[in-house]
Symmetry: C2
Subunit: 360 residues, 2 copies
């Protein structure tokens, strides 16, 4: 156990957005939410999964929706507590802790705000080790944990409680509700036991995010390359250095879908990189050849600062470094690739781990 304070949160929000591969929300908004909560209620206990009692109830908290919408709808935050409490009532018991469903600028910090305000611990883990766009795309699902009962709420005061026959139905119904709620909602879902967290979660994500964020900050102060620090901590690869020359983005069926085009700089001069995204970056294609794909992580960083650019933040003229990072091993099984592999997202290619692609 250790305490997360305001400065931890500053670093963590940046690092989590880097792991968020373009999705999971804006780190600035995420930071505000968590810092406010810690200022009011004090630092948050971060517990290792192995410190959680086997029978303890753990409830993940998150925001659902298209990140383009999140930017316009800074959530009051009250709604997420409401969903957490609704699940506690539904299950007839108090939760021991909360946990992130995914890594991301907002989705790593919402659980911190919940933990601070409810004075409960946060578990140092998440359900992806990155961000993904759909409800069933968590390691919890791979381990047979049900997404429901799931509670949803919006900033107007509407709330919804779901019980479904499987996680795909949860995705369909909660997506339709999120769209009607204005494009984003606050959610509590995948209630689980301590022993589930030990088996099914990706461990250590909060600490990793904090280390990544701190490395970026310190390297900037010390005039070292922040990108190299990120690559070291994530065992990642530089895929491209380029200027954004085109961004096509539309909200379809509740998702921010689109493509960004990068024109090569320095050693990449004359090359073109394209990234296709659905909330999160899905594939990176350099001069017509795929250089990285889901479930591996693809993140766009500002060249000077090393700060992550979310899919909603992609703008013409940004000078960026695009990096690829290996995903957690849980995503690399045949079963997992059915849930989050390139084919699920409509790309008729086999998944090749980024380490292998980089060898070739």
């Amino acid at each position: 156990m250790r305490l997360l304070d305001e400065s931890s949160v500053e670093d963590l929000a940046v690092g989590a957005a880097i792991l968020g591969t373009g999705g999971g929300g804006d780190p600035y908004i995420g930071k505000l939410m968590a810092v406010d909560a810690i200022k009011e209620c004090g630092p948050v206990e971060l517990v290792d999964p192995h410190e959680v009692p086997d029978e303890a109830l753990i409830i993940p908290t998150a925001m659902m929706g298209a990140p383009t919408v999140l930017v316009e709808k800074l959530p009051g935050g009250g709604e997420v507590f409401q969903t957490f409490k609704a699940l506690e009532r539904r299950l007839g018991r108090k939760a021991y802790a909360t946990i992130s469903a995914e890594a991301g600028g907002v989705n790593s910090t919402i659980p911190i705000a919940v933990a601070a305000r409810l004075r409960i611990p946060l578990v140092d883990a998440d359900g992806m080790g990155r961000a993904f766009p759909e409800i069933q795309m968590v390691t919890f699902h791979l381990h047979g944990i049900s997404a429901t009962p799931m509670a949803m709420a919006d900033e107007k005061g509407n709330s919804v409680l779901l019980d479904t026959v499987d996680d795909f139905w949860t995705e369909r119904i909660s997506r339709a509700v999120t769209i009607v709620m204005g494009g984003s909602s606050l959610i509590s879902l995948y209630p689980m036991y301590g022993r589930d967290v030990k088996e099914a979660a990706v461990h250590g994500t909060i600490t990793l995010a904090e280390r990544i964020g701190r490395a970026v900050r310190e390297s900037l102060r010390e005039k070292r390359s922040p990108v190299q620090e990120v690559l070291k901590l994530t065992r990642g690869y530089e895929l491209f250095k380029g200027k954004i020359v085109d961004v096509e983005r539309r909200t379809v069926a509740g998702f921010a879908r689109g493509e960004a085009v990068f024109e090569g700089l320095e050693e990449y001069k004359g090359s073109i990189l394209k990234i296709r995204f659905q909330n999160e970056n899905l594939v990176a294609i350099r001069d017509g050849e795929i250089v990285a794909s889901v479930p591996d992580l693809i993140t766009v960083l500002e060249v000077e600062t090393g700060l992550p650019v979310t899919t909603e933040g992609l703008r013409y003229g940004y000078r960026t470094v695009v990096i690829g990072m290996p995903c957690n091993e849980k995503w690399r099984t045949e079963e997992a690739l059915k849930v989050v592999g390139p084919k699920y997202f409509g790309y008729d290619i086999d998944y090749i781990p980024i380490e292998e692609r980089m060898k070739g």
Copy 2:
């Protein structure tokens, strides 16, 4: 109090479909559901609103969705009990009785099936005295009763519990969920007290529906005009006699919308009548002139049998009588017309009660 048996249900399903103005579901399906339940569990106690204790909990039960879809998805019925029980659990008490939300071939009989299987009474009343397409279009809403908590379920086993800030949000969210569930869902909503039923409901609808259905059946046996019997019981008017020559129908945003065109027969020869509908018939236009509009009732009857034709049942070549009937007085206030008047449905006309139109 009196008992509803199988033969009551046969008549009632027909009469309710006549009051259903084209919506509220198919009387044949409705009859099957309720007759099955009565066969298994015995007749249902029908209680007058004034017999209900003021503090008793009453939960309306219904089906939501486009009637075109209902025809294809004969519900198992189990789902509606599940929603009823979910509301009881949510409210922490047992319900005294159920009640219809609207009159209609299915929506008048679902509550009978619920009453039979749960061995509780059915209240002789409903929330419209007819059928309307949207959640907030009930007299309960006019009297300030909230549609939520509302429980929804589908035949696959998915269920949803809603708490919203107003009935318009309930409509939006539950409509989105119904569409995802496949176009129809089973629902329990507008939980209320006995005293609310006394004040806010349209009284006597079940008995009226049964009388209408019985009159149609008996007039056919005695070779009298069934249509005249219906007009007498509903203080209605014959608007047209004609053959259906065109039906345009599409499912939009979860509603069956469209237009039917009738070519005049007998004294109407040379005339054309058009009916526009959204699940229910909304306006009847004869030779370019409006002859009836919401909230008054417009129903299409088969010329020989007097049996009602629902909007999903409209077919080329049917020989029909179109009738108009005055709505309940609760719908004729300025406030009520904002909720169910022609302007709400996109027709820029003032509501003129059918009695006045028929005088001119």
